[in-house]
């Protein structure tokens, strides 16, 4: 019995000693090889709602550096500036295609959406009794007009600005906004690279082409089981950069495009491109461009005997497309950054009031401009008249994270890109029928489905 007790005591001591050695060893290893000393980045975060399968080079190589794992701060001066006391109006800038561009109809809708938000804010007393004033600027004109217009806005002493739609103009404006330190909200340019510039002076409240591409790729390849896709896109930056994420995602799913060809804005005869598409034997077609040309392409495709399903970019969700393409548009599937038909009280009220005010239905640019301008107005109310402080609120991932606008919930990623929900539409009986984007199907789920 005594022997047994001694043996137990020794066993306990032995275990304690082993435990101590183990703890000491772990502690030593921990301090000898701290994780932070590793040169490569070990943190695994998929940027932009990207699934593991769609991470660039993800199947073969871990990136040395992921640039958007963290938030770029603004460390400059300016927060200490005292607001002026002699203002008679609080100016907010607007940059958009208002004249001389094929995007002018979109720019007008955007301006109306922004103006509507300003009018509502002024009806509620403006900023502490001082009215807000919109300072509209056309971004179409002399080469690089957007840059010059943002300088003018700075001279006009705007506190922030909303803009724009065209990729190039918005990029140019953003660069000047950084130099002049003017907070900027983008409500109309879905170019994924816009927020990939690491400039901490802009947020975007509209889903980008990366989100559109992922939704389309999932729908086309995983749900509809197409494998041979031909792309006909606009020969402009919207077409070039927009299709980029789609092309890459398709490739990463194992389906390189069978054809990618272009057309110029303003073209009306697409026979040459369509003949090339026919020769490539696609089982579906993706069109990426503006509504008018796309509608003409769809008509001509059907005339030339192409009956394949057609998918397209967000700008195709347009009344103009339905008017031009008519029955040929039936079955067209596009993405859209919001669902205007939702029975949400604020959205319903906006649609009604906007229609009464401007005599037309608001489009995606009007709705997002309305939300974007409301973000600016609310930021000014909360931060006061100080650009750096307005910027701080817009970009802090707290104040406006989860903001419920008429276009849905705003979710900003570390680059201040809106990765909230995106919708899909299908033309049925001459109307766009909206449905939520289904969750992306992973490789594993896809393999399970195909395995009996």
């Amino acid at each position: 019995m005594i022997l047994t007790n001694n043996t137990n005591v020794m066993k306990n001591q032995d275990q304690k000693i082993k435990l101590r050695v183990l703890v000491l060893t772990i502690l030593t290893m921990f301090f000898l090889f701290p994780v932070s000393d590793l040169n490569g980045q070990d943190k695994k975060l998929n940027y932009g709602n990207t699934t593991d399968e769609l991470v660039p080079y993800g199947r073969f190589q871990k990136a040395y550096k992921n640039f958007f794992d963290d938030v770029q701060p603004f460390t400059g001066a300016g927060r200490e500036k005292v607001p002026p006391t002699d203002l008679t109006e609080v100016r907010i800038g607007f940059l958009g295609p208002l004249e001389g561009s094929i995007l002018t109809p979109l720019g007008i809708q955007m301006l109306q959406g922004a103006s509507f938000a300003i009018e509502e804010a002024n009806n509620k007393g403006g900023y502490n009794g001082i009215p807000f004033k919109l300072m509209p600027h056309n971004d179409v004109g002399l080469w690089g007009a957007a840059a010059n217009e943002v300088v003018k806005m700075n001279d006009e002493k705007v506190w922030a600005f909303l803009g724009s739609i065209d990729d190039i103009n918005t990029h140019v404006a953003l660069r000047v906004a950084l130099k002049l330190e003017i907070p900027m909200v983008n409500s109309g340019d879905p170019d994924p690279t816009l927020t990939e510039t690491r400039i901490p002076w802009m947020i975007r409240n509209i889903a980008d082409d990366r989100q559109s591409s992922y939704a389309l790729v999932n729908h086309i390849y995983r749900e509809k089981k197409h494998s041979r896709i031909a792309v006909l896109r606009a020969n402009n930056r919207y077409g070039r950069v927009g299709i980029m994420e789609f092309r890459d995602a398709a490739l990463r799913y194992g389906f390189p495009l069978v054809l990618e060809i272009r057309y110029n804005d303003g073209e009306i005869d697409f026979a040459t491109q369509i003949e090339r598409m026919i020769k490539s034997s696609p089982d579906a077609v993706v069109l990426w461009g503006n509504a008018k040309e796309t509608a003409l392409i769809i008509n001509q495709m059907r005339q030339m005997g192409m009956e394949q399903p057609v998918y397209g970019s967000d700008r195709l969700m347009s009344k103009e497309l339905l008017e031009i393409a008519g029955e040929n548009a039936e079955g067209l599937v596009t993405t859209c950054q919001y669902n205007p038909t939702l029975d949400e009280p604020n959205l319903v009220a906006f649609n009604k009031n906007y229609n009464e005010r401007y005599g037309m239905e608001p489009d995606v640019f009007a709705a997002h401009a309305y939300d974007g301008m409301n973000l600016i107005i609310e930021a000014i109310h909360k931060a006061g008249l100080n650009r750096a402080l307005i910027r701080d609120l817009l970009t802090d991932h707290k104040t406006f994270q989860g903001y419920q606008g008429i276009t849905g919930e705003l979710i900003l990623d570390p680059s201040w890109n809106d990765i909230g929900s995106i919708w899909m539409t299908e033309v049925r009986d001459g109307k766009f029928d909206f449905f939520p984007t289904p969750p992306l199907i992973s490789d594993e789920q896809e393999n399970k489905k195909s395995t009996p």
């Binding site: 020794m10 001591q13 032995d14 000693i17 082993k18 101590r20 050695v21 000491l24 060893t25 502690l27 030593t28 301090f31 000898l32 701290p34 000393d37 040169n39 980045q41 940027y47 932009g48 660039p56 080079y57 190589q61 990136a63 040395y64 550096k65 992921n66 640039f67 958007f68 770029q72 701060p73 603004f74 460390t75 400059g76 001066a77 300016g78 002399l142 080469w143 690089g144 957007a146 840059a147 010059n148 300088v151 700075n154 190039i168 990029h171 140019v172 660069r175 000047v176 130099k179 002049l180 994924p192 690279t193 990939e196 510039t197 690491r198 400039i199 930056r237």
Partner: protein, 403 residues
Amino acid sequence: MKNNNRFFQKNIKVLSLILLSVFLSGFSISKQDKSFQNDLEDNQAKPVEISSRVSPETGSDIKDEAQQMPVYGNWETFTVKDGLPADKAYCVRIDGDRVLVGTSAGLAVYENETWKTYTAEDGLAHNGVLSIDVSELTGDVWLGTLGGLTRWSAGRFETFTQFNSGLANDVIYTVICDGKDVWVATGGGAGSYDTYTREWGIYTERNAPMHEPWTYGVCAGGGKIFIAAWGGGVIEYTKETKQFRDYVDPDGEMEIDLFPDDGVIHDITTGVTFADDILWVATYFGLSRYDGTRWKGYLDHDSGLVSNFINFLKADGPVVWLCTDLGLSSFNGETWVTYRKNENNKKGKIIITEGENTKEISSTTSISHEFVIGVDTQDDVVWIATSKGVSRGEILKDLTAGL
């Protein structure tokens, strides 16, 4: 079993001591060695001991190179209170005995210890002066502004805009003089102006291998012009052959850098500078160095670069100066020296990094603000433009960086 227990009981203290000593040595070789405090505060600048060893990478003696890496201090700051037209300074250029500073409210000239301001009322294209260079041939001062290009010659201001010249855009981010030619990087493309023939050239995505029309920086060297094309990497123009080529991020992705030294770190480039046959490229994602054959990347997590967000850079011989949002870094290929403000007081910090070793020195004076936008050096003096004021530093003669 019994023997094993005895072994553990007897040796536990020894084992613990061994493990503890290994544990403590782990501390001593960790990267941040803050135990060293050179007391610059008492103006007793002491040379930091430099150990001589041969770099396995270059075969050169690090001691020799490190000794060429000066340390600056005795910072003097100028703001509106001292005569600047605005605290926000975009650029600085040393021109002989005077210093030219571009601010958000005009051009400030420091001469004979006083500031004089020139604005749009005097003839500047715009009060926001983003870039300054001085022609070595004529002594003319060229000013890149938010509203056009201005030449200051013999006391007269002459302005070039999109309306009266071949400028691609009125927002001039960078201007440089290269012999008789003046090159600009603008919001609508790069441009050149031949001051003899008065001919303009415009370079955009339509006639050069740029992905986008907008440019941000330009520099000259080695018979070439290098353009930092925002979104298009670096465009190289060989003057003799008039041929362009581009250098872009090989992985083609904006959100990652796949391999560290495979090319320019990112296509969003913010500046270029060339000296000693080395091209340095600034981005908001880190620094790249190109020796004509190989690229090398530097990020804040794998080097002494204080921040990846580089507003501007300028090379002076073997040393490149990097204006970041977290202070001013300098680098000679081996040794990093970074100048920051102490968060808790008005004093400064000098951070010296060589390989994996870092030392921090406290200094009684500091740069005026950590958001550094412009830099220029001449002889033993460095001037910087910051978000809040301009600072002048001088070489601490008894101190060179090294570990």
